[in-house]
Amino acid sequence: MKHFNEEELVEYHYGESDSAAEIKQHVRECAICGAAYLALSRDLSEIVAITPPTRDANYGEQIWQSIRSSVQVYEAPKKQRFGWLQLHLTHGFAAATFLLVLAAAFFAGRRWEHRNPQTPTVTSNTSDSNGRERVVLVVLGDHLDRSERLLVELKHAEPSTEAPMQAEARELLSANRLYRESVKQSDPALAAALDHLERVLIEVSNEPAGLSQVRLDELQKEMNTDGLLFEVRVLRSRVQGDVEQKGSAVATNKGVSI
């Protein structure tokens, strides 16, 4: 008689065994496997499902509102009549244009070489600019990282009369003002988040006698620090993405800048 091991019985218990009929028959007839299966079933039946706390009917709306400002509108694909025909024409036209440009570039290049003997010159403005932007983004990323850590600390803070959090907030505050001003025009979403962050930093850094539990609760409630924490996380990951993008752009430009 072939006995079944625990792994096979677990599979059978969850209804995923390939030999379900065989095992069913066996556990009826075999005292050892029957007892083993009974014990397994009893143990598993006592592991109760964790009941999550209830979320009200507006929960979905709250979640959507919390992420809404972090997502961008998708661009609608343009509808085209006779799309298949246009596709063929477009492809044909693109191929012809490409060949024409290639030929023109080849001949222009040959003529240019004859007129101007090649000398290596540094034309790395784009590369430099990308490099600078990357440095700015790295610094900004670092700032957001530190801010995130402060907000996490704040979230889990115990009432205290010590002031290390205040000192960190003060340091971050001056840098935050600079970043907020510099991105005000170019990135309103980032500027708005930095503005929110600045208000929290001001509150934290201006607490003269440490943070009491009441004050911590007030801060978390009034300033929506949880929402801000999420916002900062999203921005940090976006800035991180930009850094990587710029990094690869700089790397690509390096090969052609001379």
Binding site: E6, V10, P53, G60, E61, Q72, V234
Partner: protein, 190 residues
């Protein structure tokens, strides 16, 4: 917004950003449930829900219309929750108390009649169960929760965890073994 999920996805991709709110409203409770079961913490579960829907929006173009949005976002949420417990080692949130001495539990299980003692016993079992959960790795715990509490099959677990079906099956089995070992003291007096 009315309509099925696929219509809403098409509307979002066509530029109607707010239509996504309807998808969030429709699936957020499910996503929260699994996120909470995996992370064991309300705030973490809320964060997982936010992150899952945010990622879902950002990757909506890769959503294939032959699958169900609910299943797709569920998988993303499981992944986010797994990352969360990996990152924070959130097993600690399952803590009920410091009591870990198995010998203490041996005398606490006796009567199966409904009584104050019985409800106390249930709490004891839950506490021990949570402690036992902490002995699992993040993958084992997630696989077990998906199998035992969410009723997902091996293929679905493997998809959600991005592992091979056999690895998913093994993870569930290891979890069952460890949990049974941890809960064994309850059996002594039965």
């Amino acid at each position: 917004m009315e309509g099925n999920d696929h219509e809403i996805v098409r509307a979002v991709l066509a530029g109607d950003k707010d239509a996504y709110g309807a998808l969030v409203a429709r699936h957020s409770q499910n996503v929260f449930r699994v996120a909470y079961r995996i992370t064991g913490d309300e705030a973490d579960a809320d964060e997982v829900v936010q992150e899952a829907f945010l990622r879902g929006y950002q990757r909506l173009e890769s959503f294939e219309s032959r699958s169900e949005f609910g299943t797709w976002i569920y998988r993303i949420a499981v992944n986010c929750a797994l990352n969360m417990i990996n990152k924070r080692k959130v097993e600690a949130t399952y803590q009920i108390g410091e009591e870990t001495d198995p010998s203490q539990h041996q005398v606490q299980v006796a009567d199966s009649a409904a009584s104050p003692e019985r409800s106390l016993l249930s709490r004891e079992i839950e506490a021990l169960q949570r402690t036992a959960m902490r002995s699992l790795t993040a993958t084992e715990k997630t696989a077990f929760i998906l199998r035992h509490m969410e009723g997902r099959n091996t293929t679905e677990i493997a998809d959600a965890l991005h592992i091979a079906p056999n690895a998913a099956k093994q993870a569930v089995f290891r979890a069952v073994q460890k949990l049974r070992r941890s809960l064994a003291p309850l059996r002594v007096t039965l």
